[in-house]
Each structure stands twice: as structure tokens, then as C-alpha cells.
């Protein structure tokens, strides 16, 4: 299909080319206007002091990039985003895999269980972040009430076991999850892991079904424990799926915005503890109308994602096992 023989480059071939372009036209127009053009326009804008509030725009060269990289808020945004990516991606993937492996055995209620784990993924991030805001409430939130109950159970058990020598081991003081900066990223990680785990689980389940059952049987005959089978069979053979999921998750994680915006009602968390790269872009473009500056920041985000994806592709090339 790749090389077209000369005899095909006839009138018929060009007729078909014209026909194909007609089929592609609607998609091409829309993509051209809203994807190809803005990608180029955006890099162009990033070299300008571009404001919507005036007619003329001023060329500033690399100044936007220099100022962004020198901005301490941007550095906070990078570090917050990275901390989020590093915590969220492995957690979401490993929990998804664990649940998939557990569900992959012959058990009853597989369907309903699968639905229960997957349900959070289809719900709107806005509505669900609202629910979590209520759960994280310091005084009346479900989380603190459950933790308080848990701490009193733990204390009673410890007191009983140590015959009253140790009492009040876990002094629970209602943390104010939404007001203390140190919890911000953790709050978001919990919500995101909860929401995305089911999606990973479904993809892992599909991948697991492609692993031949005979391999496990053979391993069992050879006296391998389920634990060993997991490490020696499941994990290597599922690696292409793991790779796909990790790429998707990392790209998605770098774009964190909505959850922060809703959980902290239109602010990037207490003392910028929830400032992310996309939030930084949003704030500069749509709250301060510095379009060139924000475009430069968006391009830095693109560069970071690109580098991460590239590094991951390199790193996993050797380790991924693609079966025949």
C-alpha cells in the first residue's frame, strides 16, 4: 500500500485522490481551524507581548519564556504538578492492576463489582469534586468523622491489648484538609486515583484476557505460587498495556486543572499550593489577559509532556515484552 506503482498514477488514481479529499474535507477544515492553525499561532504569539485589550501587539522575542522561567509562581506550579504526577500515576496504575488481577479470577458478582470500580470514571469531574469538597469538610465531612471513629477503635484495641498501659495512642485532631496547604496535592491525588482507577482496571482486564491460560497452568504444575506467577507471567506479559496506560495517565496528569478549580472554588488552593501548570496558563490568559505570556507557558507544558513521553518510550523499549 505504501508504494504506489507508476501505472496506478493514472487518471483513475487522481480521480480517487479527489474523491478521498472530499471525504476528508470536513475533518480537515475543522482540524485546520482549531488544531493545526492554533498550534502554529500559539508559538508565534509566545514571542509577543499580546493583549486582547489593544490593537497592536509587540514583539518581545524570548522575553516571555525568560520571565516565566524566572517566576517563582511558575516554579511552584511545576513542582506541584510534578508532585501530583509522581504520586498519582503509580498509585492509579498499580491499584487498577491489582483490582483487575483479583477480578480476573473465577468469582461471582464480577459484573457488578466491575461497575462499582468503574463508575467514578464516567461522572463529571465538576460534580464529583463538589462531593469531595463536602467529604473533606473539617467538621461535618465524612472523612474526618470516619477517621475519628477509626482512631477511637484503634485506641480501644491498643489499650485492651496492652492492658491499659498505652491509652490514647492516636490523638485525632480534625485536620482541615482544604485549608492546610500541605494537604492540597494529596486531596487531589485521592480524588483522581479514585476516579481513574476503574478505567485502568478495564484496560488491564482486557489485557489480562490475552494472556494464555496454559502459562498459569504450567507454572502451577511446576509448583509456582500465585505470587510468583504474578511477577513472572502476568507483569511481563501485561507490560504493553502498562506502558499504554502510563503514557495516557502521565499526559492527563500534567493537565490537572478542573479538580483544583472546583475543590477550591476558583482559586489555586491555599497559598498557591494547588497552582498547576494549566492553572498558571488559565490565570494568565483569562484572568490577566496576557495571551502571549500564557502561550509561552502552554508551550513549556507541551515541551515537558513531550520530553516525559520520549523518555518513557526510550526507557521502556527494552523492558516491554510484545508477544508474537
Amino acid at each position: 500500500m505504501l508504494r504506489i506503482p507508476m501505472e496506478m498514477k493514472t487518471k483513475k488514481y487522481w480521480k480517487q485522490t479527489f474523491e478521498a479529499y472530499m471525504y476528508l474535507l470536513p475533518a480537515f477544515i475543522i482540524l485546520g481551524m482549531f488544531s493545526f492553525y492554533p498550534v502554529v499561532k500559539s508559538i508565534y504569539m509566545s514571542f509577543f507581548d499580546w493583549s486582547l485589550l489593544r490593537e497592536r501587539q509587540y514583539f518581545v522575542g524570548l522575553e516571555n519564556y525568560e520571565r516565566i522561567l524566572g517566576d517563582s509562581v511558575f516554579r511552584t506550579a511545576i513542582s506541584n504538578t510534578l508532585r501530583y504526577v509522581i504520586a498519582y500515576v503509580p498509585l492509579s496504575i498499580s491499584l487498577g492492576l491489582i483490582v483487575a488481577v483479583l477480578l480476573n479470577s473465577k468469582i461471582r458478582f464480577r459484573g457488578p463489582l466491575r461497575v462499582a470500580y468503574f463508575l467514578p470514571w464516567v461522572t463529571s469531574s465538576v460534580a464529583i469534586s463538589m462531593v469531595w469538597r463536602w467529604i473533606y469538610n473539617q467538621h461535618y465531612g465524612l472523612l474526618n468523622m470516619m477517621l475519628a471513629g477509626l482512631s477511637s477503635v484503634v485506641n480501644t484495641v491498643v489499650e485492651f491489648v496492652t492492658l491499659g498501659h498505652v491509652s490514647g495512642l492516636w490523638q485525632f485532631s480534625n485536620p482541615n484538609w482544604l485549608m492546610e496547604p500541605r494537604w492540597t496535592i494529596i486531596n487531589i491525588v485521592i480524588i483522581s486515583v479514585w476516579q481513574s482507577m476503574g478505567y485502568n482496571m478495564i484496560i488491564f482486564l482486557a489485557g489480562l484476557q490475552n494472556i494464555p491460560h496454559e502459562l498459569y497452568e504450567a507454572a502451577q504444575v511446576d509448583g509456582a505460587s500465585p505470587w510468583q506467577s504474578f511477577w513472572k507471567i502476568t507483569l511481563p506479559l501485561i507490560s504493553p498495556t502498562t506502558f499504554f496506560i502510563s503514557i495516557i495517565s502521565i499526559i492527563g496528569a500534567f493537565k490537572l486543572f478542573t479538580e483544583i478549580y472546583v475543590l477550591y472554588t476558583g482559586r489555586p488552593g491555599p497559598v498557591n499550593s494547588g497552582m498547576t501548570i494549566v492553572y498558571y496558563v488559565y490565570r494568565n490568559a483569562f484572568e490577566r489577559y496576557r495571551m502571549g505570556y500564557a502561550s509561552a507557558a502552554a508551550y513549556i507544558l507541551f515541551a515537558i509532556i513531550f520530553i516525559f513521553t520520549l523518555v518513557q518510550m526510550r526507557a521502556s523499549r527494552r523492558r516491554i515484552h510484545y508477544g508474537s
Binding site: 505504501l2 504506489i4 488514481y13 487522481w14 480517487q16 485522490t17 474523491e19 478521498a20 479529499y21 471525504y23 476528508l24 470536513p26 475533518a27 480537515f28 475543522i30 482540524l31 481551524m33 482549531f34 493545526f36 492554533p38 498550534v39 500559539s42 483490582v99 468469582i107 463489582l113 462499582a116 470500580y117 464516567v122 461522572t123 463529571s124 465538576v126 460534580a127 464529583i128 463538589m130 462531593v131 463536602w134 467529604i135 469538610n137 461535618y140 465524612l142 468523622m145 478505567y199 478495564i202 484496560i203 482486557a206 489485557g207 490475552n210 498495556t241 499504554f244 496506560i245 493537565k255 486543572f257 478549580y261 472546583v262 472554588t265 490568559a285 502561550s295 502552554a298 507544558l301 513521553t309
Partner: protein, 284 residues
């Protein structure tokens, strides 16, 4: 005797393992469901039940009127109409445009095919946030800010759908295509009468993804709308928060009905959904 004892031990171990498996899976599922349960029970609580310091799962008397109060406290009817209108329009236009493009890539030979396909795929690598600002300016120049045009037109094509459909079209035997064309069937007719009916699962996947993506989309709608008349459910919900503040029972009622259409759709089309996602993973 020994064999019997071993057998017995084996059985106990097996049951124990099963028991642990079920307990872990069930506990996990309960934790996953807790936010939903808490949302729904909170939504029917009376104000004084919202400020208890201990967990009360069910309200003494279900306050169903909370839903009515929340619904009337903001123009949710308009938000719902907008969300439905936009999601359905985008979904149908997108599936048509994507099928046409996917058909060309899958079945036709033409000049620049590989180049165009790579160009299309390339856009998937670029985060949407990079295009956000120029697209906003385009909308300002078109005078489309705060209109349905802005909320529909840019979303009518997705490379992801084109890719997914192309993969599916490729799996339909090419001989069928050649035979039909030889018999004088036009290419468009073949697409509509043969290809699309055979591709139902892929089409359903594409449409479901689009509907949900559109229903839940937030950032674009947030920056493109200024008036309540144009807002969709997610954006309307964030404005509702600033209006009612910390009346969480009303907030939870609003969150519940904001999620309801998607949850119902999902529960009805569970199978198609889960198969669709599995498909995206395998082909990716």
C-alpha cells in the same frame, strides 16, 4: 489418612483464600461507592442533619424537596437543555465527519495519504491547552463567544474517533469492498449501506465517548460563556456553588441530578461501554 488430611487442608486454604479475595474486593467496591452514597444521602437531609459531628447515614425524614429547591435556585433547566443540545449535536456531527475521514484513510488510495494520516495523528500528541488561547481569539474574531457555535463547531472532529473507526474499517475484508465497487456500487453508498452497519460497535463507542466528553467538558465552556443562557451543567454547577455557599444538602442534590443522565446512560449501556474502553486500550 494423610492424604485425606492434606485434602482437607487444601480445601480450607482454598476457602480462606476465596474469603479474603471477596472481602478485599467488596471492601474496595464499598469504598469506591461511598462518595456516591454520601452524596445521595446528604442530598435528602434536613439542614440540622448536615451539621452533626457523628456519621448519620440516613436522614430521619427524607427531604425530597431539597431537589426542587436546588433545581429552582439556579437556571438548571437551561443548563440541562444546553448540555443535551450540545452533546447530542456534537455527537452526531462528529460521528459523520469521523466516519467519512476514517473511510478515506481505510479504503481509498490517494496522494499524500500517509502524510495526512500522520498529520492528523500528530495533533493527538499536543495538549489541548496549547490551542486554547489562539482558539479563544478565533472565537472572539468570529463573534462566537457566548454562542452555541463556539461550544459545538470546534468539537465536531476528533482524531481519536477517526483513528478508532479506521482501525475497525480495516478489519472488514477488503474483498467485500472490491466486489461491491465492481458491481457498480458507489463508494458513498458502500460506506452507508455496508460499512457503517457492520461497524456498529465502533460507532457506539465513538458516540458514547463523545457524548460523555461533551457533557463533562469544563474549561472550554468556562472561558467561552459569559451568560447563564449559554452555560452547561458543569459550569452552571460551579456558579451555583458561589450562590448557595455551604448549603451542602442543596449542593449534593444539584450534583446528583448533574450526574444522573450520564450514570443512567452508563448503567443502560454498560456492556458497550466497557467493551469500547477495552478496545481503545488494545488498539492504542
Amino acid at each position: 489418612m494423610l492424604a485425606e488430611q492434606q485434602m482437607w487442608q487444601y480445601r480450607v486454604a482454598k476457602h480462606l483464600r476465596r474469603g479474603v479475595l471477596y472481602t478485599v474486593l467488596l471492601a474496595g467496591a464499598v469504598i469506591m461507592m461511598l462518595p456516591f452514597i454520601w452524596m445521595i444521602t446528604s442530598s435528602i437531609k434536613a439542614p440540622h442533619e448536615m451539621t452533626l459531628r457523628t456519621i448519620q447515614w440516613l436522614p430521619a425524614v427524607p427531604q425530597w424537596q431539597n431537589y426542587k429547591i436546588a433545581w429552582e435556585a439556579a437556571p438548571f433547566e437551561i443548563y440541562f437543555q444546553n448540555s443535551f443540545l450540545i452533546a447530542i449535536t456534537v455527537m452526531f456531527i462528529e460521528v459523520i465527519f469521523s466516519s467519512l475521514a476514517a473511510y478515506a484513510f481505510a479504503k481509498l488510495n490517494f496522494f499524500g495519504k500517509n502524510f495526512l494520516f500522520l498529520l492528523f495523528l500528530g495533533t493527538m500528541m499536543i495538549p489541548g491547552e496549547v490551542m486554547l488561547i489562539p482558539n479563544y481569539i478565533t472565537m472572539v474574531n468570529f463573534g462566537w463567544v457566548d454562542t452555541y457555535w463556539a461550544l459545538i463547531v470546534p468539537w465536531t472532529v476528533s482524531v481519536f474517533s477517526i483513528f478508532l473507526l479506521r482501525q475497525f474499517f480495516l478489519s472488514i475484508p477488503h474483498e467485500l469492498f472490491e466486489a461491491a465497487i465492481l458491481d457498480g456500487c458507489s463508494k458513498l453508498k458502500y460506506l452507508i449501506t455496508v460499512m457503517l452497519p457492520l461497524s456498529k460497535p465502533a460507532l457506539v463507542t465513538v458516540m458514547l465517548f463523545k457524548f460523555i466528553g461533551s457533557w463533562n467538558s469544563f474549561l472550554w465552556v468556562l472561558i467561552m460563556t459569559n451568560t447563564p443562557a449559554m452555560r452547561t451543567i458543569p459550569v452552571g454547577l460551579t456558579y451555583f456553588v458561589s450562590d448557595v455557599g455551604s448549603y451542602y444538602n442543596y449542593l449534593m442534590a444539584a450534583s446528583t441530578f448533574a450526574m444522573a443522565p450520564i450514570l443512567i446512560l452508563f448503567l443502560l449501556l454498560q456492556k458497550q461501554f466497557i467493551q469500547g474502553i477495552a478496545r481503545t486500550g488494545l488498539k492504542g
